[in-house]
């Protein structure tokens, strides 16, 4: 009986420890996120990869700029990268489809494929609807 008791107590302690570490981890995560938010002032980080001035890419630039100005005014950082100029980034960012808008922040990461002409889909991707 005693041994049984001891085991129960022990497992209870272990379980508690586990919980603590888990909650710590979650807390850490939140901290990191909030830290990042503070760093860029809670702004959206967006990367638009385009292929030179091919028609789809050109309209993607126009579209995203319009959407950002309308829905995310002063709350976004948008970087436009021409993959022809920086082909190495195609590998590191795992680019296959062009144009593509990558929402790097806030999580989750989303890749929005295409010329961003379907505004509703873009807003969905940005987490605004």
């Amino acid at each position: 009986m005693r041994i049984q008791n001891k085991i129960t107590i022990l497992s209870a302690i272990l379980f508690e420890k586990k919980l603590i570490t888990m909650s710590k981890k979650i807390a850490d995560n939140i901290k990191v996120n909030t830290q990042a938010l503070k760093d860029n002032g809670g702004k959206y980080i967006l990367c638009l990869f385009v292929s030179g001035n091919l028609p789809n890419s050109a309209s993607a630039i126009v579209n995203i700029k319009a959407i950002c100005e309308k829905y995310l005014k002063d709350r976004y950082e948008l970087e436009i990268i021409d993959i022809y100029q920086q082909p190495d980034l195609a590998i590191t960012e795992q680019i296959v489809v062009l144009p593509v808008l990558i929402k790097k922040f806030p999580m989750p990461k989303v890749r929005m494929l295409g010329d961003l002409s379907r505004t509703e889909e873009v807003l969905k991707g940005l987490g605004l609807v």
């Binding site: 990869f49 292929s51 091919l54 082909p87 590998i91 593509v100 494929l113 295409g114 010329d115 002409s117």
Partner: protein, 508 residues
């Protein structure tokens, strides 16, 4: 343009270049279709590695499915160590990761990103060969209409880049057609298949189409082992080996005598069929023994008895095979028929033949292999195998077990007997409540042969064939035969049946 042949890029894969008549189309795209685990990645990788090693053509491998480390690790287990090739800038491997979960379609797009990466990769190593493995990953989450046109653009772009490429894809439920990308867009389409029949898996390869080139239309079995892929080589029917008139002794003096006093033709095929316990294996062993004694190599393929058992049993009738095995002149191949498909057995045997170059190959018994797979396949396969052996001038002896009373009806036996050059039958005959073995030569192409049915005697000194003495009432039993022989010697007038002078057992 009379003798124009399409420029080809040899794969260096055993058998595949024969089937494709020289390789896959140069500077064009070949579509490689197959289910999961059918060997697409290995075939594609072997194409690249052979390109580097044999033809000095650098390569690019775009991995859509596997991580680079995993890929390299998997290939190492197949003795493809790519590390040195990577160091020497001969091969460049790039992962293309596509995560459909984080993708969202928001308009019109193209695969320009992939093109940029491919171009960069090709320029990095000045590649001549490119593999995309496997592109169906692209199809998840992307619009099929866009992909269709982009896929066509990819093929013509690769052509423009002057690289020979293999693009692999899953085939499940006519995958590509299903997705609106028909196979006809590619210049060459190869289908891989891993099929299970009677619980035995066989990999098969078929060339569905090959624009501008003749190619084999059949399904060809292939294997993947530590040395890579081997497609079962096809011997073209046009090739006719020069037959020889040289003879090889059967190892049984009396049998040689029945076969025009000289024995079999070298490079011919011989079948011994008979019911169980009639002495087929003994006859075969006797042949093997005499071949080895003449200092020629022999390969004994056993599908029923284990080699050790054969060695023991044959020792009891005067054939001491153990020494021959030790000296390496006699090689045993032992395998269970159900282990693999018939073609794969032949493939394995063929590999050994190429290694040891035997004069004689014995398959004992061939009928055990016949249980695997439908009969029509077996016939064509055996024909191909016999053809192969003929080109190598190898004499082959098959034994075939048949069931009692079905000699005429047994289809597998009939199937082989028409193929072989010499066919002997061993049978049990019962004379006056005494069972004895008999042997007769059913046919023997290109030689005068005896039509006698001889008594087949196995003793501790080997095999002897005796004439069967008979009176006008039929053959005589052994006990009476001696008496009859004695009679014959004393009063030759009485001899009705025995035309030549009877063979006395004691002289043997």
């Amino acid at each position: 343009m009379k003798n124009f042949t399409l420029p080809k890029s040899p794969t260096g894969i055993q058998g595949l270049d024969e089937v494709t008549n020289g390789g896959i189309p140069k500077n064009r795209s070949t579509l490689l279709l197959g289910n999961t685990g059918s060997g697409k990645t290995i075939l594609a990788m072997e194409f690249l590695v052979n390109g580097i090693v044999l033809f000095d053509e650098p390569a690019v491998f775009m991995a859509f499915e596997e991580k680079k480390e995993n890929l390299l690790m998997n290939l190492k287990s197949l003795t493809y160590n790519l590390d040195t090739h990577i160091e020497n800038n001969k091969i460049y491997i790039e992962e293309v990761l596509i995560n459909p979960d984080e993708m969202l379609e928001t308009g019109i797009y193209d695969l320009e990103g992939l093109f940029v990466r491919l171009e960069q990769a090709i320029n990095k190593v000045m590649a001549k060969r490119v593999v995309l493995d496997s592109v169906d990953k692209l199809f998840y989450g992307l619009d099929n209409k866009i992909l269709r046109s982009e896929f066509l653009r990819l093929l013509s772009w690769l052509n423009k880049m002057k690289v020979s490429s293999i693009i692999s894809s899953e085939i499940g439920d006519h995958f590509l057609t299903h997705r609106g990308i028909e196979e006809y867009v590619a210049d060459c389409v190869i289908l891989l298949d891993n099929r299970v029949t009677n619980q035995i898996a066989t990999r098969r390869l078929r060339i569905i189409k090959y624009r501008g080139s003749i190619h084999g239309n059949n399904e060809y079995p292939f294997t993947i082992d530590e040395k890579g892929i081997s497609v079962y080589p096809i011997i073209s029917e046009a090739f006719q080996p020069e037959p020889t008139s040289k003879r090889i002794s059967s190892g049984i003096e009396d049998l040689d005598e029945m076969l025009g006093k000289k024995g079999f033709y070298e490079g011919s095929s011989i079948l011994i069929s008979g019911t169980a316990g009639t002495g087929k294996t003994s006859t075969a062993a006797s042949f093997a023994y005499s071949v080895c004694k003449a200092n020629k190599r022999c390969l004994f393929c056993a599908f029923e008895e284990a080699p050790k058992q054969i060695i023991r049993n044959m020792g009891s009738i005067g054939f001491h095979l153990n020494q021959l095995v030790k000296s390496g002149i006699l090689t045993f191949y032992y395998s269970r028929p159900s282990l693999q498909n018939l073609e794969l057995h032949f493939l394995a045997i063929k590999k050994i033949i190429n290694e040891i170059k035997p004069t004689v190959v014995i398959l004992d018994p061939i009928t055990n292999l016949m249980t695997e797979g439908p009969n029509s396949d077996i016939r064509s396969m055996l024909t191909r195998f016999i053809d192969f052996l003929k080109t190598q001038h190898i004499t082959v002896m098959f034994t075939a077990a048949i069931t009692v009373g079905s000699i005429e009806r047994n289809p597998s036996d009939e199937g082989i007997s028409s193929m072989v050059d010499t066919w002997m039958m061993v049978q049990d005959i019962e004379i006056n409540a005494e069972r004895s073995r008999s042997l007769c030569v059913m046919k023997s192409r290109g030689m005068v042969h005896s039509t006698d049915v001889r008594k087949f005697k196995i003793s501790t000194k080997g095999i002897t064939l005796l004439r069967i003495a008979a009176n006008n009432k039929g053959p005589l039993a052994d006990s009476k035969r001696k008496a009859k022989e004695h009679d014959n010697l004393s009063t030759s007038k009485e001899s009705i049946w025995v035309k030549e002078s009877p063979v006395n057992e004691n002289t043997k």
